[in-house]
Subunit: 100 residues, 3 copies
């Protein structure tokens, strides 16, 4: 079984950001995305009270380079004003043309 390593980047954000985030993921190089509805509560120090209720969980499978750019973009663009969570994980996918 030949696999290749990619990054799974997960973003948890207010549902109102959905379209904007999808557009930005594509601009940064993601070929596709998956979205699920979640609820949550949390804080990044700022505006803790705002992050409670309907959120989206947006996932993209991307290269290490694109993952870095997405992490940086989300931090730069949203961390100051939105309760956005983002993390990256190593995943193994089947080697194919699909994710190139």
């Amino acid at each position: 079984m030949q696999t290749v390593a990619l990054k799974l980047v997960t973003i948890i954000a207010e549902a109102v950001l959905e379209e904007r985030l999808i557009r930005e993921m594509k601009q940064l190089g993601a070929k596709g995305y998956t979205i699920g509805e979640v609820i949550g509560q949390g804080s990044r120090g700022i505006r803790a009270s705002d992050w409670e209720g309907k959120n989206i969980r947006l996932e993209v499978l991307v290269s290490n380079e694109v993952a870095d750019q997405i992490l940086q973009h989300i931090a730069d663009t949203y961390f100051a004003h939105y309760a956005v969570i983002i993390y990256a994980q190593d995943v193994q996918v089947i080697r194919s043309e699909k994710y190139q």
Copy 2:
């Protein structure tokens, strides 16, 4: 805390494949599964336009060997005709009889 390494295999596919995929996961050795509803968009080069809308996100916790068999089976069976995504991740679970 003694943990053991397993693989979390995630399959994102059209909802119409749900029953068939569950049956195949069990046949390949998965003892259980978790399914969530997601939406998504993407492409593997083929039929990009078909993969948009209601999907399922099917997860199984399995051994490395079963994970390899699932990856291979999904690639062989679905990649030519369905917009199925599959990836595997390393996870730590508590050592117990549960996943043997």
Copy 3:
């Protein structure tokens, strides 16, 4: 891109345990959580027939130490009587005050 390693701990459990699990996660040190609805089927050897239907998928991002405590707590508290699944994964998050 400076990232820091955390653990993503995922718990899959009967929906009736939601409030109790959230309270316990906070007591054990989680600063936030994300919950999605899932369905599933499985077994840990005991009460296999009970784990089928509506479940929650509860996720927390925590330090290695808190992850260990959560794994141990869930095993000690629930494994004997509930069909709870729990696993931990390594994730990379952006270095910030957020998860400290």
